[in-house]
């Protein structure tokens, strides 16, 4: 979070985003029609709710007073009609409020997704995918439960109580007063259990997380686990975590089951009072049996909403925590966005200039790049080499502004990169990142990923250049083959060639290749290089590699080491200098030489280029 705070903040960050319940209010206001209707339906429902026990009493009264059977049946018919109306009202209040909650969930999820798409890479490096997903799915579900059943119950229960209390008092104020005595205890129950429920939920969540990371650790270190035959020790660790989770779950179960059990004693106590006091009143002739029925019915009808309140209490607790977790994502300002001072302009020509650029990922960490100054003329090819961790990828990621670039240190076509609209910037640049990430789409769709539509011609042209076209025929469904995580497994080389084709299809003015051909075999690499030479014409190209062979043909080569630009120049110049580049070159020449010698020895040297 600190990096985002550190980085130059855009205009979006300046306006304070509403948090927590305030944020929800915005969505509620948005859907106020639904919610007002829902509230109205709930109000009517509450009225019909209170009417039913009164009507039962009324029917019993007819019986008690010895009225005609027809009158009893008439009153019962009215009762049946009332329950019918009550059912219809309940249906509408539930559908209205629950659909309202779903609508808000929908809007909130859209906004979350849109927000995620605006966040910089540094955010995704800090947050685990699983964590973000659980916020978009599970936490949102908790918020929705709070808004659906939660709001329903919060709105409904007090109204129900008001109606019921009103009806009871008008029937028999003394008994009403006595019957309602136990109910305030609910507040105490909810408070004390709410806290332990919250605690129990947290314990279980932590237990699950600990168990998950234990398993994750075993899998990540599976070669060590196996070769050191440490399965028993690893199992013991897992078992310990498993037992802790089990204990936490039992604890939660106890709290969760105790609360309804204790809550059920409230109506029990109320009925007890009705039975004892009401019984005496009836015996003394001061109360009718019909009233007794009405009171008993009222108590019964209140049982369910009271129960639910306990559950709703937990829902709101959970919903609030979930909202906070969602806020953590939504509250992260997109540190890479167009600023008010952007300069509208056409496509970039491709001139790149770093002016004493320094960059660090996190305030507390060592800078990944220090004081780099470098000028790349439009249309030229720059090679970037250096050991692993030298800052090559960081340097390249700054150009499409995947990372936050400090003001006044990186210029494209002479304009500060932070003043170029992101759209213009990124539509002029194509980058092939190291990890050959493909989406779960057809191969053709993947190659056309950056194009406005699936343009077959361009797809095939790009794929041919990337030496991908020849593989297509061998795939089960040709161009339509589903690739990516849910599709078939392409080989490392095929993936890299697909990502290369994806970039080439864009025909960008700046092309960045980040160690793109590492998994491609030598023969294909040579063919691709041949093609690239044509592609490179007229474009600014950055080729990042730890292999000298991949960069030696570049117009200029920048050598990075530990975040610093240590040397730059052409291949021959750098060799002559005898610095880091020359050393890397000789080490790699050694490797190449070895392969050549071995090829010769193995007798198939002629087959290779």
């Amino acid at each position: 979070m600190s990096a985002a705070a550190e980085a130059p903040t855009g205009a979006a960050a300046a306006e304070a985003a509403p948090r927590g319940f305030a944020r929800l209010l915005g969505y509620l206001r948005h859907n106020r029609g639904t919610y007002l209707l829902g509230a109205l339906a709930t109000l009517c429902y509450a009225a019909s709710f209170a009417a039913v026990p009164v009507l039962v009493g009324w029917a019993i009264q007819a019986l008690e007073q010895g009225l005609s059977q027809a009158e009893v049946v008439r009153r019962c018919a009215l009762l049946a009609a009332a329950t019918g109306a009550r059912g219809a009202l309940r249906f509408s209040s539930r559908t209205l409020l629950f659909n309202g909650a779903r609508q808000i969930e929908y809007e909130l999820r859209n906004d979350l997704f849109a927000h995620l798409q605006r966040l910089p890479q540094s955010f995704f490096q800090r947050w685990r995918t699983g964590d973000l997903m659980s916020r978009c799915i599970n936490d949102l579900a908790s918020v929705r439960l709070m808004l659906g059943p939660g709001v329903l119950s919060v709105v409904q229960t007090p109204i129900l109580y008001l109606f019921v209390i009103g009806a009871m008092v008008s029937l028999n104020p003394l008994l009403a007063g006595l019957v309602l005595l136990p109910y305030p205890a609910f507040l105490w129950i909810a408070r004390s259990f709410g806290r332990s429920m919250h605690r129990g939920n947290l314990d279980v969540q932590e237990g699950l997380a600990a168990l998950g990371s234990q398993l994750q650790e075993t899998i990540s270190g599976i070669s060590v686990v196996k070769t050191y035959a440490m399965e028993p020790a690893a199992s013991a660790r897992f078992d310990a975590a498993n037992e802790r989770l089990f204990a936490a779950q039992l604890g939660l179960i106890r709290v969760n089951s105790a609360m309804p059990a204790i809550t059920s004693m409230l109506p029990a106590a109320a009925t007890w009072i009705v039975l004892y006091v009401g019984g005496h009143l009836i015996a003394e002739g001061r109360m009718s049996v019909a009233e007794f029925f009405t009171f008993a019915m009222f108590i019964y009808e209140l049982t369910f909403p009271t129960f639910i309140m306990g559950w709703v209490f937990a829902l709101v607790q959970r919903g609030r925590a979930a909202l906070q977790r969602i806020d953590e994502v939504l509250g992260t300002a997109p540190s890479i966005a167009d600023r008010p001072d952007v300069v509208a302009r056409g496509p970039l020509r491709g001139e790149i200039e770093f002016r004493r650029l320094s960059f660090r990922y996190d305030a507390g960490r060592e800078p990944a790049l220090r004081d780099v100054s470098l000028h790349v003329p439009a249309g030229s090819v720059l090679g970037i080499v250096g050991p692993i961790g030298a800052g090559k990828t960081t340097l390249a990621s700054l150009i499409p502004r995947l990372l936050e670039v400090p003001d006044g240190q990186l210029f494209l076509d002479g304009v500060d990169i932070n003043r170029i609209p992101l759209r213009t910037l990124r539509s002029s640049i194509a980058m092939v990142p190291q990890d050959g990430f493909l989406f779960s789409m057809s191969l053709a769709e993947n190659v056309a990923y950056g194009l406005p539509s699936l343009d077959r011609e361009r797809v095939i042209e790009a794929a041919t250049r990337a030496q991908l076209a020849k593989d297509v025929a061998e795939l089960p469904h040709g161009w339509e083959t589903l690739v990516g995580e849910r599709g078939i497994m392409l080989s490392g080389g095929q993936r890299q060639r697909t990502t290369l084709a994806r970039a080439l299809a864009l025909r960008p003015s700046i092309l960045i290749l980040d160690d793109t051909l590492a998994s491609v075999d030598a023969e294909t690499e040579a063919a691709i290089r041949q093609e690239l030479r044509q592609v490179f014409a007229g474009r600014t190209v950055l080729v990042i590699s730890h292999r000298i062979a991949s960069v030696c043909e570049a117009d200029r080569i920048a050598v990075l080491d530990d975040g610093r630009l240590v040397e730059s120049g052409s291949h021959l110049e750098l060799l002559a200098r005898g610095g880091l580049y020359a050393r890397l070159a000789s080490e790699q020449a050694l490797d190449d030489e070895l392969v050549e010698a071995l090829d010769h020895l193995a007798g198939d040297g002629t087959a290779r280029t």
């Binding site: 994750q216 599976i222 008993a296 050991p387 070895l594 020895l601």
Partner: protein, 636 residues
Amino acid sequence: MSGPARAQDSLHEEEALGKAYDARLMARLWRWVAPYRWQVVATLLLTAPLFLLELAPAWIVKSGLDRVQRDGAAGEPGMGWLDRLFDPPGSIDGLAWLAGLYLLAMAGNATLQFVHTVLMARTGQSAMRDLRRDVYQHIQGLHLGFFDRYPVGRLVTRATNDVENVSEMFSAGIVALVTDVLKMIGFAVVLFLVDARLALVAFLVVPVLAVCAVLFRARIRAAFRLIRVRIARINAMIQESVTGMKIVQLFRREARNQRDFEALNAAHRDAWSQSIRYDAALFAVVEVANGISIAVIVGYGASLVSGGAMTIGTLYVFIDWMRRFFLPLRDLSAKYSVMQSAMASCERIFQILDTAPAIQDRERPVDRARPVSTPEAPPRRAGGDRPGEIVFDRVWFAYQGEDWVLRDFSLRVAPGERAALVGATGAGKTSVIKLLARLYEPTRGCIRLDGVDLREIPQRELRRRIAMVLQDVFLFSGSIAWNIALGRPDVDRRAVVRAARMVEAHRIIERLPQGFDSELRERGGDLSAGQRQLLSFARAIAHGGDLLILDEATSSVDAETELLVQRGLHALLAERTAIVIAHRLSTIQDVDTIHVLHKGRCVESGSHAELLARRGAYWRLYRLQFEHAAPALAAG
């Protein structure tokens, strides 16, 4: 969106998500519940007293009502003996006595309900704890190749979320369903016993309700299936977009992505709106049915009461029990969805459990008397027939299909011999050592240790003999000492310290604030590559295997650590049969034999001197390396 693969994919998805009850899965699940069957029996038996305690309160109220009415009311109803059961002893006020009984019954009910729920959930959780343990054991036993293909995150989900879903079934699904059905039958029976005529009339609404339930069931099932498929798509899209956000942003796909996402999201919302409608309708129908049944009871009951065939108290009993009869029907669809997700999770868990480990011990491994190496005394390098002979006999190996990594590869390492593997990246060196540790198995050919095929040796026994040091040192969360001993009981603190001393890692360790007890931060993220190397050397020494497998790290380290690493390596190589993937000249000079690998074949073998004399590939390599690297090494 129209690829044939995609269509097949979603079809499968729906099939897996549709079922709410699968007898085959349930039968399999019983294996984990069986140890707790007595708890299950106890839970079911508890239903009986629980049921009685649910019946009692209404009857007590009835007794009270009848009592206060008795003076005026005509005749005693047929079930007077039951009322007499609640008669107060002696001269206690009848109403006070009944009210006390009522409170007692309710308290008993609440207590029993609590015990019942806890017992039920405890049974489920115990079974799930065992299931989790078995899933873990199974995953741990799978061969390495499995993990190349199966993402870690998904495995973690199986052991956590999926097991949680199944456990929900115990607390809110099947068991609750069975108890509910038993109770409903119970209420129906007692209602008929109390008054068959009134019961018959009151239950008139039930057939209507049953028809509604059947009608709704199919729709609710379809709706839930749709929901599950759609939430799965949302899940997949978020996951993919977050993982590939760099590409999304680089290729400016945000707007299109947002459109696609909103479409999925809207489809999900609409699927829910269907389900909400059915759910609310079911809820309302149950409530209306209940209300109508009350109206019918009062209407018809009134004629019975005025005819003297029934007391007004019985009316109360009917109303109360009828309501309890309807109660379980209200959250039927919630239970349905719990069952559905439990079944889907079950299926996924069993898929993992059904993945047979590709590498397994033979039923009855060849029993060979073998001097067991202990951490204290690794076998001496002395006689001719000491163990440790390694033979690769015409081994072919591919990780996938026919992409051969090793082709007809043969190699012999004599006991006590130290062999180096040399070759370019991708020559197959790493595969050789992975095969030797039997993390993978050869596709063709065989590997023998002391004349015995590796497949005949129990994995545990084989690996206890191997000390392996990999390039990328994996450290576990825990202390330094734990990371050296790796939880093995026979490697005590003394052995750990001695091992660390032998490779001179103790200097670095003792510099840490808590020495050997220092907890590693983020799995050793605060240690340098060299320090991690030394720790792994100590680990290898402490475990005392007589076969050393070492993949030397290439990463450059600072001068001081470099010296320590070289000395540690020397200590490690002493007195062991070793196969080393060498990257340093100094290491190569430390070994007896050098094997040059190229494209999965061994192209040259011999001692340093022999190979130099042969003037082949090694000779060229050596000359080049010496010329180029000598200054660099000298500087180090």
